[in-house]
Symmetry: C2
Subunit: 367 residues, 2 copies
């Protein structure tokens, strides 16, 4: 399969928010559609913690992307009209420089020597891609989940760089429940002896810790309501049951196991730890003298759509409402969309029936 | 400190629901108040997964019990009127026979040779205590959390043994979200190398797995709403922060750590696994040809109070409503109390201000 990834070299040194700098770093990105001559039709998508820049299929890589149903000709994010960019987060291992990359100073992987990472750094790296493409102002900045927090950081740090914004299933800061979940995910990885303070190898990989972290993620990304309909108390067939004591018995358990299998050894544990902690650290209140509302009021954009779902336990709907109110107080024309999708936080990835028309409608109405 | 525990020898052999039998087994219990001559004033309390039979202080053990504010002279469960019994669950390690006990057949701890445990076995062991005390029919059976499920099993298996019932923060069966959480807790313990298929020792105890299991428990026992008010994003003082990379930084993280410390090495991991799995297995629908409602309709009692809270993510309020409707359809006079306590599933342990008058009022109205 061809690789649609392009690489953008970040300025060297690339200064990090909490100190330190990266040398010779880059981020991976993909694009869809054609940039207008005046570069006025660009949309940037900032992703959740784990996806790559491959948000949708394109000529170079026809495999389905993580938001395949949303992006393409005639789709809600219509690539006949828009030039769409998706950037793999700085600190990830899907093509961008992160803790799994080689540190040019030592010739060895950074591991825990990678500087402290914030979502502002993720935003700044994406902004550098946009600038490199000759785009002064994005027609729209779309941020999903962790990417929604990075998008707020993007707009706070680069006034005038964004005309409109779509905020998807995200928050202006992590609440203690989300911090507790992420802390426990990090702890499961750290407690795995194979993690070994970040010095694991393929032969001794912290598989148990990563599996627990992923399963806890999936539990909090979905919702109890969806699972009642989907799994109820259905048992596995006896031949599907592992022989070990206390092995899996219910369908919901093998569902989690299948998700963990797709993740473990496909995501670098140190990258996961860095991005997870960056999500805990992000706080719009830092830009508003301790007030989230005042922080949001510093964002200067024309219009926004803020979407969330009532079943999201990780980024509860009240937090999306907080974003909507803050952007409105800042002078933007804001549409707030509260959905009842049963799928929880992950609804934006699966409930395209509702997210598609909402986001597509917002973009269609832009002049 | 004196020990208020009494021990009741179970019939030997004691047949288990899923097969096998225990020989020479016993359960621990404590009592408060005085049994009337006609044995008509007895209340039995069945506990959640981890508490002992020490629900409240008494002459032999003046230390606070786990429901101290609820039980005693003049308290909601008034020991001036009622004779109160609390039984430590069969399978627990707080005085009752369980996987940590010596198997008389081998002279070694049972560990995973303990027969498969169900909440019906827990109920039957408690019923045996009640019979041993000369009580034919309980004035009231109170079940909290896991104990609420065991209470349903008690009433289904022993018609005529209970006059009235108080159902607290429980469910007629585990939903997939609760199964997923408990499965992940069990997995964290099983994946700990020190667990070693149940053959751990004090020197090699599965501390990491138990810590993760307990923290996940605490996260799901409480509620996001409570934590927003209690912890928000408050940081630990720098001297409280551990030096390790990715160590704790937020108050909510040290709160979880403190809870884990109080649990790890104070609860036997195998006992935890057995009781956790028993909670997943319990299903009133087994008594109603696959229907929870039909199962509940087989319970014959005079009156019931069913209480739950809207912030409980482990045993959601809809499940308490299901119990209330089923008991009503069975012919009982039912009071359904839906509270908005912010504390989540654990509200019954802390929101005494609301649980006290509700349960106390119900008991006061009994003739």
């Amino acid at each position: 399969m061809a690789d649609a990834r392009r690489y953008h070299d970040l300025p060297s040194p690339f200064a990090m928010k909490r100190g330190g700098a990266l040398h010779g770093a880059h981020v991976a990105y993909e694009t869809w559609g054609t940039l207008d001559d005046d570069a006025g039709n660009a949309i940037l998508i900032l992703t959740g913690l784990s996806p790559s820049a491959h948000a949708a299929s394109n000529a170079d890589d026809p495999s389905d992307g993580w938001w395949e149903a949303m992006i393409g000709p005639g789709k809600p994010i219509d690539t006949d009209r828009w030039f769409v960019i998706c950037v793999n987060a700085l600190g990830s291992d899907k093509g961008s420089t992160g803790p799994a990359s080689i540190n040019p100073a030592t010739g060895e992987p950074y591991r825990l020597d990678f500087p402290e990472l914030t979502l502002e750094d993720v935003a700044n790296a994406a902004h550098s891609v946009v600038q490199g493409l000759g785009i002064e102002c994005l027609a729209c900045l779309i941020g999903c989940s962790m990417g929604g927090m990075a998008a707020l950081g993007y707009m706070l740090q680069h006034p005038g760089a964004v005309r409109t914004h779509v905020s998807v299933d995200t928050a202006p800061q992590a609440q203690p429940f989300a911090i507790a979940i992420r802390s426990l995910q990090r702890e499961a990885i750290r407690l795995d002896r194979n993690w070994d303070h970040g010095r694991y190898s393929d032969d001794a990989y912290p598989e148990r810790g990563m599996s627990i972290a992923r399963k806890l993620g999936v539990i909090t990304y979905r919702s109890a309501m969806e699972w009642n309909g989907r799994f109820a108390r259905i048992r596995l067939d006896s031949e599907e049951r592992p022989g070990n004591p206390f092995g899996f018995e219910f369908q919901v358990e093998s569902y989690l196991q299948a998700h963990a299998r797709k993740f473990v050894r496909h995501f670098d544990p140190n990258c996961y730890l860095y991005l997870s902690r960056a999500s805990d650290w992000f706080d719009v209140a830092e830009y508003g003298d301790g007030s989230v509302h005042e922080g949001l009021k510093r964002i200067r954009i024309e219009r926004a759509m803020v979407i969330g779902v009532s079943t999201d336990i990780l980024f509860p709907l009240e937090q999306q409402e907080q974003i909507a109110k803050g952007l409105e107080a800042a002078g933007a024309q804001v549409e707030f969309v509260a959905l009842d999708s049963p799928q929880g936080h992950d609804a934006f990835l699966v409930d395209i029936e509702h997210y598609g028309p909402a986001i597509g409608g917002f973009l269609d109405r832009l002049d």
